[in-house]
Each structure stands twice: as C-alpha cells, then as structure tokens.
Amino acid sequence: MSADSTQIKACCAAAYGQDAVALVLRESYHPGGLALTRRLARALGLRPGQHVIDVASGPGATARLLAAEFGVTVDGVDLGQSAVDRARSAAQAARLPATVRFSVGDAERLPLPGGMADAVVCECAFCTFPDKAAAAGEFARVLRPGGRVGITDVTVADGGLPAELTTLTAWVACIADARPVSRYTDILAVAGLRTVRVEPHDDALARMIDQIEARLALLRMTAADHLMAAGVNVDAVLRYTAVARRAVADGLLGYALLVAEKPA
C-alpha cells in the first residue's frame, strides 16, 4: 500500500471504523466557518488589546482572524507540530507574527501561565478531548477572573444517541464523544465556569455533512483507484453521512455555541 493510499484510508476509511470525519474536518474546517468564529468573538465581547488563547488552533485561521479583525493578541495551542508550523508560516505571511503566536501543547495541560487570558476559544475540539474535565479546568486556570471561554461544538440530544445511531459513533470520534449541551455546561460548572450563553447552530453541522459528501465525491472522481487500493467503500461512507444528516434533521445531533464566564 502506497503512502498516498494509507493517507486516503486514514481520511476516508469510514467503512473500517476509523475516525474519518474528524480527520477530514478538524484541521482545516469547523462547522460554521469564519462566520461562526466571528459570532463567537462577538459573543465573547473581545476588545482591542485583549489576550486570547485558541485551544486546538489547527492551521491558525481563527487566530489570524481574531488578531486582524478584533485587534487582540492570540496564543494558539495545538497538539500537532505540523499544524503549528503551518499556522506560524501563515501568520508570518499575514504579517501578524507579533500578535499571533503558536505552540505545541495539550489542551489538558496548556503550556501557558495562569490567570492571564481575557478569553479562551475552542472550536469543534472540546468534544474530542478524552478528559474534558481536565481541559475545562485548564480553561479556568488560564483565564483571568471575569474572563470568558467560547466553545463551538458537536452536541447530541439529551440521553445521548439512540441505538440505531451507534454505528455512526463507531465511525466518528467527535460524535462518539460528543455530549448533550447540559453535560457540557455541567463540566464547565465543575471547573468553576458559569455558562452565560447557549446558541444552537445545527445548520452548520448539516453544511459540514454536505462538505464531507462533496469531498468524498471529489475523491471518487479524482482518485477512484487510490480509494479502491485503500479499501475505502465510498457508498458505505455515504450511507453514514445520510444517517448523520437524518440525525441532524431529527434534532438528535447538533452544533452549539457556548460562552461561560470565570467569576470575577
């Protein structure tokens, strides 16, 4: 198996139970795109000169946007060295190196001092953290008193997903570990963060499913032989996306924006 096909398999091998969607989406794209990022920034009330920590900053698009449009300084933290490298060079290209910094680090042990940040943002990543309580504790630690954390993430209905959708959770880690909104607010509350705003954005998830389907269709057109070599069954994947789409339509799967505050 060539390197290429291994990668495709990693990307799209839903039929084999790998974490396809998280891989397709986590780095480059989150539901809602830049528009939802702006909404999050406004919900946080960001003002010029403030300091923001972007947890799971990926290639840094959010950090650049926050710095350029809201005049804040940003520390991006990501688990992957390659994502951090790309984020750094993109910030350089955007002439933002002084206000946007990136470092490799784990959300559950942020490599940053406590009590310094005016805000933390975490987009489409909280659901993937194995120890959510630890991550929430870190958010609380790095925030100054009165600081806010803004999260956008996948949600499931109260009581979790029904049994017929468990095939879906086997396929997508971020859905497998997504929680009802009330669970997220509980986790934050335990860390001492009081939720002050919750907004549903389920249509952002529906659009993400469109994007997954479109990318799979594109891969089928451009690299059918690679896909076959990797043992990826696109039709099987598309059955999963259809299930996911129905789950969104039925309100079982959703996407939410949350803002929580550290007491002053």
Binding site: I8, V24, G33, L34, A35, R38, E69, Q211, R215, A217
Partner: protein, 554 residues
C-alpha cells in the same frame, strides 16, 4: 396652512362622527427597504422609485405623473436579496471615462465618472439584421430593411474605446442582430485579436454554425491563436417544439444540434444561453444543464429570464421570473445535483444581478460513474466573497481566483477562467485535510468543470439606477461610448443609437404588459411603442425626480 388637509379618509370620518374607536391605524403590508430612481416604462422619464418587500418577495414601484403607478417583481426571495448585499466588491475605476456627469444617472451614459465599476465585458453589436425574426428579442432585430451594420473602421474605433478604458480588456462579445451574417465578422475577430483583448465571444443563434462548416472551421482556427480564445455563446432555449416556436418562431432543434456538433469538431467551447419565460420553457432548465454536461462542446449554461425590453410575449410584471426563481427551478428539476445555496451572487456587478455556480463533473449524465460536485460545497465561498464581513480571508490568492470566476468576464474556454479554476481547485485543501495531494487529478477535473450563470437583465419595469451604476457589462457604441447593458436596452439608448446609425426615426420601445395597452401601439419591428411616438423630445430619459428644486417651496 389648513390643518384639515392633513386629515383624510377614514380618520376624517371618525373624527367628525366623534367615534374615535372606529379610527384604527393599520400597518402597511410591506417593508420599505430602498429609495432609488427608475424610468416610466411608457415615456422613459426618470422617476423616483422605491423597493419594498411583501410576502418574502421584492418589488420595485414608481409613479409617473402622466402614466401612473407601476410595480414589478425584482427578486423572488427577499432573504436571498438582502443576504446578497454582502457579496458586493469595491468597484475598479476604468482608465478613462467617455462622458461627463451632467443630468445624473441614467441620462449620462457612459461611462460617466460616477459609474462605480469598470467594464468586465464589452459588447459590440455589429448589425441589426438577423436571419430569424424571433417573437422574443430584446434587440428588436430581424429581417429589416432599415437597420444598420457597422464598418470595419467603426469596429476598430469601438475596440479602441474599450481598450482605452480597460488597458487590457478581458472579453469582447460580438453580438447583433446576428453577428455571423455580417460579411466582415471574421475581420472583426481578427481586428479584436490584434488588440489587447484577451478573449472573444460570439453571440449567435447558431444557424450559420449549423450550415457553414467552413465558417466554423475559420472560427476554430482563430480560437487559441496567440493565446486568445474565441468562444461561442449559443442561443439555446430548450427541447420542446413549442419552446422553439414561441421564443424563436420556428423549430431550430435540428440546427442547434448540428451547430453544437460542428463546434465540437472545430474545438470551439460553447455556452448554451437560454432565455427563460414563465409558462414557456421554465420546466426545461434541468434538461438543458444535463444536455450541456453530455455534449463535448458545451462547458457552461447561462439562464436569462426574458428581458422585457424590445420584442417579447405579453407578460405580467408582478409574476415575472427573477434570479432566485430560476435558481429554485434548477434545484427543483435536478435535486440530486443542485441546491439553491450552491449559487452565489457575483460581486463585481450589483450582487442581485447575477449568480453563478461551478460544477466539477466526471463521466456522462445517465452513465454509471457520473459524478457531480458543486464547487461551493468544497470551498466556503462566502469566506472569500463576502466583502462586508470579511476583513480577513483565509487565502488572498484563492479570493482572487474566486473573484475572477464569480465575474461577468468569466467564460468557459478562456485562459483566465481555466487558470482560476485550477487555482481554486488547488485550494480545495484536501491535501491539508486528508493528506491527499492530487493536483494532477484535480487539473484533469477542472478541464471538465462546468459553469452555470443566472442573469436577470433589467427592463423598463425593473430598472433600478442603483444596479445600473455598478453594471460591468457594457454596450460599446459606434460613437465611442460604453453604455451599461440594461441602460442601453431599457432607458432609450438602443433607440438613440439605431436612429443615429440608420437615419430612420426609432420610437422608444415599451414593454408588452397588458396594463400598458392604452398607451401603446405596434412598432414596425413587432415590439410595442408609445402611441404618440417619442413623447419627450430630445435627450435621453428627462428627469422628473425631485432634483434641482428647493426642498420646500415657499
């Protein structure tokens, strides 16, 4: 001033009878969203106009002192109309303007220094004659003894005007009349190719392409010469015999197919251009796209709601087709391929004028391996082309590519459009997301990319000066002006130019709407004109708005 004049109607009655409870204020049934200028569809006088939203649709309304009030549907989806405002790009200033600001828009065309955009596309109408006499023709062309055709010297002057304004021009379209029957049409193409004009598009009914293979071969030889393309913009309204008879007056189905096959043989790239009319061929949009996808010469389809300027079937201004209606029909007729939100407004002109989507396709429709993916499902287009929200875009090279693709100068078959498609495809960031880098495969795919354009041109009912002021599709006139396409057709410039060129009096054309019946009569060309001819003496579109007068008279 007598206070009583302020009390009118119901409230006056209620006040006089002393039953104040009977006087209930009512809400208007519409939301007022814009104040603008338009023209009277009968006398072409410039009028104040207002845009209102009623029951999720957008209407333009105006009142002429002489002919009364007129209203027309301008957009079938109010939410889409308002959302599109974000897709509005700062205009580019042309190198020179051809006229001065004197009477204001739309009477100073053009381009005058108040115009907000340069010309993405310049149109040269080479004649008024045509080898058809279509019942629907915004140019009012046909077998007519009293029209005009331009000379080679005039064509050269028109090209020079365009180049002086643009520097290097992206696209010139030769149109008419029917440009292929002009005996100098190949010379015109050669002339254009000798100038800094990147691409040429020939707008034709296809009759000569179907019957004269030598001519098609001559076009094929010119396509790609010196890196400059010659592309075909082929009138193509559908497949029903009735569609052909009612829009074109004759069944052209066989000739369209032969024209397309001849183009494919000569290596010419074709855009199918459908005039779409309510109750006529609105059911054929999906079929036209599918046919285009299957034909080797066709790389794009342009849908144009019938422009109710010139000659056309009787219509109702309040239920006419708009861009959002056409997009809705496309999505409804091929739900497996399209959704309405696959289309995005074009930011170079006013965003309500034109919407575009691109498809990446593989295989042939109906075939087992046929695949189709609208590019906007792969790239978050609004992250690049929403100029209001985005102070930061993810990648400026991608924005530049998308700007050129979502533009009035985008034509499949031109080097610019192909190059920008490749650039956009490179940005699909599948490499980044999936670890799959397939530039070669994607390049193959962009060679088969397919464009769908929806463009609602304005008529004397729908004309909104706000849109005219940012128009980027210009008619180049023999006297050296660049006139926004919809001003040319709706305000009176077409009549002015034809009169100047032919020496024959040309009355202002009036739309064929039943409510205008009392004022109109037949023109010699089959269109409707005001019964009293041109009623307003000299000048284009005299102004009856409230300008040039004290705000309060004392």
């Amino acid at each position: 001033m007598n206070a009583e004049v302020l009390v009118t109607g119901e409230s006056a009655v209620a006040a006089n009878s002393g039953v104040s409870s009977a006087a209930r204020k009512r809400n208007r049934d519409e939301v007022f969203v814009e104040y603008t200028k338009s023209v009277c569809p009968v006398c072409k006088v410039v009028l104040d106009a207002q845009v209102n939203i009623r029951e999720d649709k957008v209407y333009l309304r105006k009142r002429c002192r002489e002919h009364g009030q007129f209203e027309a549907l301008v957009y079938g989806d109010a939410q889409a109309y308002l959302d599109s405002a974000r897709f509005n790009k700062p205009g580019t200033i042309p190198l020179i303007f051809q006229t001065e600001v004197r009477d204001g828009c739309p009477s100073d065309c053009g381009l005058c220094p108040e115009h907000k955009q340069h010309a993405c596309l310049g149109i040269i109408e080479v004649n008024t004659n045509c080898n058809l006499d279509c019942p629907i023709c915004f140019a009012d062309s046909g077998h007519q003894p009293d029209g005009y055709s331009i000379t080679v010297a005039q064509c050269e002057k028109m090209l020079d005007v365009f180049v002086a304004s643009e520097g290097e021009a992206e696209v010139v379209m030769f149109s008419g009349g029917e440009p292929t029957i002009h005996r100098h049409i190949l010379e015109f193409i050669d002339l254009a190719q000798s100038k800094p004009v990147r691409n040429i598009t020939l707008n034709t009914n296809g009759i000569r392409l179907a019957t004269d293979k030598r001519f098609v071969a001559a076009l094929g030889e010119r396509n790609g010469r010196g890196g400059k393309s010659v592309n075909i913009y082929l009138q193509f309204d559908g497949f029903d015999e009735r569609t052909h008879r009612e829009i074109r007056g004759t069944d052209l189905r066989d000739r369209k197919r032969r024209a397309l096959d001849n183009c494919a043989e000569a290596g010419l790239t074709v855009t199918l251009v459908a005039a779409v009319e309510r109750g006529l061929n609105e059911h054929e949009l999906g079929d036209i796209v599918e046919f285009g996808l299957a034909h080797p010469a066709v790389r794009s389809v342009a849908f144009q709601p019938v422009t109710h300027s010139g000659r056309h079937a009787e219509f109702d201004p309040l239920t006419r087709l708009t861009n959002s209606d056409v997009i809705g029909l496309i999505a409804a007729q091929r739900p497996g391929w399209f959704r309405a939100d696959d289309f995005f407004p074009v930011p170079c002109c006013f965003p309500t004028c034109r919407s575009i989507t691109y498809l990446l396709t593989d295989g042939t429709p109906g075939g087992p391996d046929f695949g189709v993916v609208p590019i906007p499902r792969l790239i978050q287009v609004e992250d690049y082309l929403d100029y209001v929200s985005n102070r930061v875009v993810p990648d400026y090279a991608v924005r530049e590519a998308l700007e050129k693709l979502w533009s009035a100068s985008a034509f499949m078959g031109t080097g610019t459009t192909e190059e920008k498609l490749r650039l956009a495809a490179d940005a699909l960031d599948c490499a980044e997301a999936c670890g799959v880098n397939l530039p070669g495969a994607i390049a193959d795919l962009t060679d088969r990319a397919f464009m769908i354009v929806v463009q609602d041109f304005q008529d004397p009912y729908t004309l909104n000066v706000k849109q005219l002021m940012k128009c980027c599709v210009e008619e180049i006139t023999p006297d050296g002006r660049l006139i926004p396409f919809c001003a040319y057709n709706s305000v009176g410039y077409r009549e002015q130019v034809r009169e100047q060129m032919s020496g024959v009096r040309v009355a202002d054309v009036v739309p064929n709407a039943p409510e205008l019946g009392p004022w109109v009569t037949e023109s010699p060309y089959g269109s409707k004109i005001a019964r009293n001819g041109t009623s307003n003496g000299p000048g284009i579109a005299p102004d009856m708005t409230n300008v040039s007068r004290r705000a309060v008279r004392r």
